[in-house]
């Protein structure tokens, strides 16, 4: 468990202001925020690279605010891997055990275990410049988990990877968390990643924690304009999917959304607001998703407006001012929303 109390740190360009967080080992904890929000400095402060200007950090109830990094047993995985180029993959992975004077035989056994877990046993003799991005990130994760750290800090670990690799590693991070039962703080700018992995998410903006909670809760009840803007980019729903006639039918808690992407089991579906039509009458079309609901809120964004429409679950829809005027839409009007099955993104 990591508890951060009133941490402030000013590094000029980047800064943190009064950060309070409590991260339990059972929750995969995501910190989401735009570039420059202070995500990396928060992780590096927890890791002990920077002393906070004020505030305290606790690891499993021990005050580690002034402990040097080596005594914390907290490891960091960076977006750009940071593999030691002069060492092989095996030497990279074993680095932490060598520092702690673990015997060669034990080290060797553990290297093989972690390498197996991450599927990189065949790469152990290679140097990092011969590895692909995904392979490098696996080695760097292996290097971070081999010492069985009390906490694992992941700084945009998937951001530099191609979509397929990203998808695979995402699943493995989840697996590692379940297996190791260690505290994880994973920083990202991707909402999709946060929704997929996070049991708890915290939103960070301009060095401040804006909101903390379960992803669903943060999405449904944004407590600030920043959260609403940041989360409002996509309609994201958690659901359970069954495949009927090659299409996914996703039970999203009250309504069933159809997607052309075949997927099975628990997943997330997202629909971009601009893919959704609004109408006062049901429309006949080839689009397979059509729901009836009420306008809950109209948010003015200048040329365009966001409608919050509750059809059992809340949808954000984007329309132009012109269409709002011609439809004469008001709050609590009854409307239909329609979108194609192909517009439903599943992950």
């Amino acid at each position: 468990m990591i508890r951060v109390e009133n941490i402030s740190k000013n590094l000029g360009e980047f800064f943190l202001t009064d950060i309070n967080l409590e991260v339990n080992a059972i929750d995969y904890f995501m910190i989401v925020g735009p570039t420059g929000a202070g995500k990396t400095i928060l992780l590096e402060t927890i890791a002990g690279i920077y002393r906070p200007d004020k505030g305290k950090i606790f690891l499993n109830d021990h005050d580690i605010t002034n402990a040097p990094p080596r005594d914390r047993n907290i490891n960091v995985v960076y977006q750009d891997y940071m593999l030691f180029p002069h060492l092989t993959a095996a030497q990279n992975i074993g680095f932490g055990l060598r520092s702690r004077k673990i015997s060669k035989t034990v080290t060797k056994r553990k290297i093989n275990e972690v390498a197996n877990l991450l599927g990189i046993s065949h790469l152990l003799c290679r140097y990092s410049d011969t590895l692909s991005g995904g392979e490098k990130q696996r080695v760097s994760i292996a290097r971070a988990i081999i010492t069985e750290p009390k906490a694992l800090l992941l700084d945009e670990p998937l951001s530099a990877l191609d979509p397929q690799t990203k998808d695979k590693l995402r699943h493995e991070l989840k697996k590692i968390h379940l297996l190791m039962k260690t505290t994880i703080i994973h920083v990202t700018h991707s909402l999709e990643e946060a929704f997929f992995l996070g049991d708890q998410i915290a939103l960070l903006d301009k060095g401040k924690i804006v909101q903390v909670g379960e992803p669903k809760e943060v999405f449904r009840k944004p407590n600030s304009k920043f959260t609403a803007d940041f989360m409002g980019v996509d309609n994201i729903f958690k659901g359970k999917s069954t495949i009927i006639n090659g299409a996914s039918h996703i039970d999203a808690g009250g309504i069933t959304i159809v997607s052309t992407t075949p997927a099975y089991g628990n997943l997330f579906a997202s629909i971009r607001p601009e893919e959704i039509f609004v109408s006062k009458q049901p429309i006949v079309s080839s689009a397979r998703n059509s729901f009836h609901g009420n306008v809950e809120n109209i948010i003015d964004k200048g040329v365009i407006l966001n409608l919050l429409i509750d059809v059992g679950i809340p949808f954000i829809v984007v329309i132009t001012r012109q269409s709002l005027d011609s439809m004469k839409l008001k709050i609590s009007d009854s409307v239909y929303i329609t979108f194609k099955a192909a517009a439903v993104h599943v992950f």
Binding site: A47, P69, I74, R100, T147, P149
Partner: protein, 268 residues
């Protein structure tokens, strides 16, 4: 002229490239003049002479020792200047670069006074470390003149290494010093090699400061440049040419190695 004909393009392009060729010809001309001044037989005979052998040996030894000194002092100093903030850092940065701007002869005079006349120098002399008119003086002169080069190359090298490598090593159980030793230093290998080669080769060629501190005594403080100077002044042209030839060979070999390993290192 074949080359010029092959180059299609503006007259301006041809003119600027001609300057490259002219300059290259000028440089090569002086090298060729030295190497072909005597016959190969005479050259070999001179190279085998006792005096030239002494000069070669003394040059190699002093340059190796001064290079090692440069490494020992520059590695921590460069690291501090790159990684840490401390009061007066930019002032010290300028001071450490000063020997670059100082004429070597002036540096030599300064060293001569420091080691010859001050209580500090006298105390060292009493302890057995006599720098004035001895080979030790050559070493200290080479060190003084060349240490800024080593420092600059190493600063550039350390700057090129992301400090996050060290953060990771510290998280994995290293102290700052261990992280430096196990990660930063091995990653600086090419910069260290390039720095050592350039420092060593400049050390071999160092004349002005060495002349002032160590003097020009035949068979005592006679390094290659001093040997060239002494033999030139008393008309022993064959010996002078032999010394010059070796200096040319060493410079070229060093330049080659430096170009090969320096990579992205910048030092000027």
């Amino acid at each position: 002229m074949m080359i010029l004909q092959k180059l299609k393009g503006s007259g301006f392009k041809i003119i600027t490239i001609s300057f490259v060729l002219l300059l290259a010809a000028f440089i090569l001309a002086q090298v060729v003049c030295v190497v072909t001044y005597t016959t190969p037989q005479v050259l070999i005979k001179s190279l085998a002479s006792r005096e030239i052998w002494f000069a070669i040996k003394l040059s190699l030894i002093t340059a190796v020792i001064s290079t090692i000194l440069c490494i020992i002092i520059s590695v921590p100093a460069a690291y501090a200047l790159v990684r840490y903030d401390f009061p007066g850092k930019s002032f010290f940065n300028t001071i450490l670069d000063m020997p670059l701007a100082l004429p070597p002869l002036v540096a030599g005079v300064g060293l001569l006074i420091l080691f010859g006349t001050t209580p500090f120098g006298k105390a060292l002399a009493k302890a057995g470390l006599v720098f004035v008119y001895t080979p030790l003086g050559i070493i200290i002169a080479q060190f003084f003149v060349n240490v800024p080069f080593m420092l600059r190359i190493l600063k550039s090298t350390f700057q090129g290494i992301n400090p996050r490598y060290e953060y990771i090593a510290q998280g994995l159980g290293c102290t700052e010093a261990q992280a430096f030793w196990r990660v930063t230093l091995p990653m600086s290998k090419n910069g260290l090699l390039a720095g050592s080669v350039i420092t060593w080769s400049k050390g071999i060629g160092e004349f002005g400061a060495a002349l002032m501190v160590a003097g020009a005594t035949r068979m005592k403080t006679e390094i290659l440049p001093i040997s060239l100077y002494l033999n030139m002044s008393c008309g022993e042209l064959d010996l002078a040419i032999a010394a010059a030839t070796i200096l040319i060979v060493i410079s070229f070999a060093s330049l080659f190695i430096f170009e090969r390993y320096s990579g992205t290192v910048h030092f000027l």
